[in-house]
């Protein structure tokens, strides 16, 4: 008996969620969107995703060995790899994917002490790193073709809009008009279901929302971040989104902007990465709002068509400061201050 009984500090039992169950659950919730990506972009999308995962997990294993830890089973490297895969265009060169994963795990994560140490989102940092290095490869998009062998390239809806805005004629009322004028026939339903070019895992808003809702219900993703991110972004688009089309206030196409690009993937699965987001509710609200503002700024004014990755890693920089500023309120502190008066 003596040696079999476990001696440990209280509490003696535990909430069912663990790091690994959380990571694997998130991966599972992402799976449908990934399956969809493979379905419409073909096996190349699968290859890209698997390469990203393999490179991330292999890097994690290697660095874990140096530090004498085995951290594969916690699933965080798998998830990072999966998300990197999801953030890649289907036709991206394979070496780009590998570099993104290695950078994410080795530089962004392990340099700062491995899981939990990183203050920036590894997957997004990896993506941005390769984006700035191989912009061409990272902006060549595959048209959805139900996996036919010969891929055809074409711009993403947001990309078409960026280009179209440069030479827009006067009678265009909003993004959907502009797309029609550019000869890119896209409907809201296409955006919602994911029948548009884009990164492998970002196109299907429907499946991402379904997975994200599950995470929200399970309290794995924080509602504060999701709500303030999507809310502030939608508000800004609604208020000022019309200006670029010569319209007044309150006329932005919120639906189009919510459904296009990597916003859903970013807001539900990446801004909510607990490691690189703030600790307290208030902090999370501020952070989410910052992400929303930055996404708006970059989408409407930036030189790159999409702003979600950059918006999130930009806000990551502020997280340590936010954490200092928004500490929990200590119990029993108010009274002592009154006393002092």
């Amino acid at each position: 008996m003596k040696d079999k009984l476990l001696i440990s500090s209280s509490p003696q039992f535990h909430h069912p969620q663990s790091t690994s169950s959380i990571m694997w659950t998130v991966s599972l919730c992402l799976l449908p969107a990934g399956v969809w990506g493979v379905y419409i972009f073909g096996l190349r999308a699968l290859l890209v995703t698997l390469t990203a995962i393999a490179a991330a997990v292999a890097t994690e294993a290697l660095l874990g060995r140096v530090k004498n830890e085995n951290t594969i089973a916690d699933g965080s490297a798998f998830l990072t790899g999966l998300l990197i895969g999801f953030n890649m265009p289907p036709a991206v060169p394979i070496y780009v994917v590998v570099v993104a994963s290695v950078f994410a795990i080795a530089v962004v994560k392990w340099t700062f002490g491995g899981l939990g140490g990183n203050w920036m989102n590894p997957a997004l940092a990896g993506r941005v790193f390769v984006f700035f290095s191989w912009t061409g490869g990272m902006t060549t998009w595959t048209l959805p073709g139900n996996g036919s062998a010969d891929t055809v390239t074409g711009p993403t809806p947001l990309g078409s809009i960026k280009a179209g805005l440069m030479s827009m004629s006067a009678d265009i009322q909003g993004p959907m008009d502009l797309l029609a004028a550019e000869g890119v026939p896209v409907s809201y339903m296409d955006l919602f279901l994911g029948r548009v070019p884009g990164s492998i895992g970002e196109v299907s808003a429907l499946l991402l929302i379904a997975g994200g809702l599950f995470l929200l219900i399970r309290k794995i993703a924080n509602w504060e971040i999701v709500v303030s991110y999507l809310g502030s972004f939608a508000l800004l688009v609604w208020l000022f989104g019309g200006f670029r089309y010569g319209q007044g206030l309150f006329s932005g196409d919120v639906l189009f902007h919510l459904l296009s690009g990597g916003l859903m993937l970013g807001a539900l699965f990446m801004a909510t990465d607990m490691v690189s987001s703030p600790l307290t509710s208030k902090g999370m609200l501020i952070y989410g709002a910052g992400c929303g503002f930055m996404t708006y700024l970059l989408r409407f004014f930036g030189s790159v068509p999409e702003g979600v990755s950059l918006a999130i890693i930009f806000m990551n920089i502020f997280v340590p400061l936010i954490n200092r500023a928004f500490q929990p309120e200590k119990f029993g502190l108010v009274k002592t201050e009154e006393e002092a008066k």
């Binding site: 009984l5 440990s8 509490p11 069912p16 663990s18 002490g113 703030p278 029993g332 002592t336």
Partner: protein
């Protein structure tokens, strides 16, 4: 949200597992032939040992005399002969001397009619002296000597007297059963304490998962016309922690580092009230208490009335033994209790439960690095930042940890319970407090 009151910040909702024992009447536990009676069963100075090897002791004889103002007498739970005085470890890890008594001779009360005396004629001093003599300590877990708590310092008054009937720890049902089965006695005990404190008002705080007890006590209170408010509270751990209970009941916050009396509150556990009744009315010292024996590895979980000094093994055998190999045996509840490695560990005045948990129940996992998820922060009822404090301790930054509120931590375990990384935060805090105490002693020494 809920129609019941609660404290606003933090708190968690672990599965309560109380259904295993909450309907089971209190039974008498077996007596083990050897009683091991630790000489310190309370917070404060250990007792002075009054017996030596070979002495014969009677049941209820004082064998340990209170070793100071903050201390409580210890009585022999059984008649018999002192075999030896040896050092043992209590579940909280403290090494104490214990008197080992081999049971022989006659019991005083067993099988006899209880004789009760009327306390209405006693003076407050006499009551206080009785409580002190009978060695009553708080049975809510802190085991603070009750006579000390009930003697108001000069110039302080008690506005509210709160009876802590929350029993927020999962599994445990001893207070619940005491209220159902000894409701009248408990109320009488409360009235005795009311006499001592003359509080503005008296509130019994009970979690809403014990509505039968609420209704029963309410009916007793109204039939006897007592000035006691029975208040159901939302089910949330740690509702029973005194500062949180006070916040829930009165809305007042006890300042950091201060006692409840600072806001005019005194609180006592249900079991403590029962002991007060027994001491004053039945003239009976604390030699037994109600212990919940439960957990997935126990064949037939029960609420047992056990004598102090009885081994855990005896109680477990009373419950039919183990149904499967337990992974942990715990003294107390799963949130605040201590694991033991030796089933010969004796029951003490503070033992509210004995739990034998299986691997499936404890849900252990290998700790990983902190994910900064902030769950510990939202769980902490004291409004602390557990992850930050833990990291300070981990990196030997004790001063920073103290500044971040380490000493305000009540070790409720909410943070560790929620932590997905399974970081033993509370263990870190206890180690950190140890270091702080060491440092301050060193400073004082200089």
């Amino acid at each position: 949200m809920s129609r019941f009151k609660t404290f606003p910040k933090g708190g968690i909702h672990p599965t309560d597992h109380k259904e295993a024992t909450c309907h089971k009447e209190i039974q008498n536990a077996s007596l083990s032939s050897i009683a091991v009676v630790p000489l310190s069963q309370h917070i404060g100075a250990p007792c002075e040992c009054l017996v030596k090897k070979g002495d014969t002791v009677e049941e209820e004889q004082i064998i340990g005399k209170a070793g100071g103002f903050v201390s409580a007498n210890i009585h022999s739970p059984v008649p018999g002969e002192v075999k030896e005085i040896k050092q043992i470890f209590l579940p909280n890890g403290i090494a104490v001397d214990a008197v080992v008594i081999e049971m022989q001779g006659e019991f005083k009360r067993l099988g006899k009619e209880e004789t009760s005396s009327d306390w209405s004629g006693m003076s407050n001093e006499e009551i206080s002296a009785k409580i002190s003599e009978m060695g009553i300590v708080g049975q809510g877990g802190a085991t603070f000597p009750t006579h000390v708590k009930l003697s108001l310092p000069k110039g302080k008054t008690c506005d509210t007297f709160i009876i802590n009937a929350v029993e927020c720890e999962p599994y445990l049902t001893s207070d619940h059963r005491v209220m159902l089965e000894k409701g009248k006695e408990v109320l009488e005990g409360i009235r005795i304490i009311q006499r001592l404190l003359s509080p503005g008002k008296t509130v019994i705080g009970i979690e809403a998962n014990k509505m039968d007890a609420v209704e029963y006590l309410q009916s007793l209170v109204s039939s006897e016309g007592l000035d006691i408010d029975v208040m159901p509270l939302e089910v949330k751990y740690p509702q029973g922690a005194e500062k949180n209970l006070i916040k829930a009941v009165t809305g007042k916050e006890v300042p950091s580092g201060k006692l409840p009396l600072e806001v005019g509150v005194i609180n006592a556990n249900v079991g403590t009230c029962l002991s007060v009744y027994e001491a004053v009315v039945l003239n009976k010292p604390v030699i037994e208490r109600v212990v919940t024996v439960s957990g997935g590895a126990i064949k037939n979980p029960l609420n047992l009335k056990a004598r102090v000094g009885t081994s855990f093994r005896t109680l477990i055998e009373d419950c039919g033994g183990f149904s499967e190999e337990p992974v942990k045996v715990i003294a107390g509840g799963p949130m605040m209790g201590f694991t033991v490695y030796d089933l010969d560990t004796p029951v003490t005045k503070g033992t509210s439960g004995i739990l034998a948990l299986t691997a499936k129940e404890i849900k252990a996992a290998k700790p990983t690095n902190c994910l900064s998820c902030g769950r510990c922060i939202s769980a902490c009822p004291m409004g602390l930042n557990p992850t930050k404090i833990f990291k300070y301790i981990e990196f030997n930054l004790s001063d920073e940890a103290a500044a971040a509120g380490l000493m305000d931590c009540v070790e409720c375990g909410s943070c560790s319970f929620m932590c997905p990384a399974h970081i033993p935060l509370v263990q870190g805090f206890r180690g950190g407090k140890k270091v702080l105490r060491k440092n301050s002693m060193k400073k004082a020494g200089k």
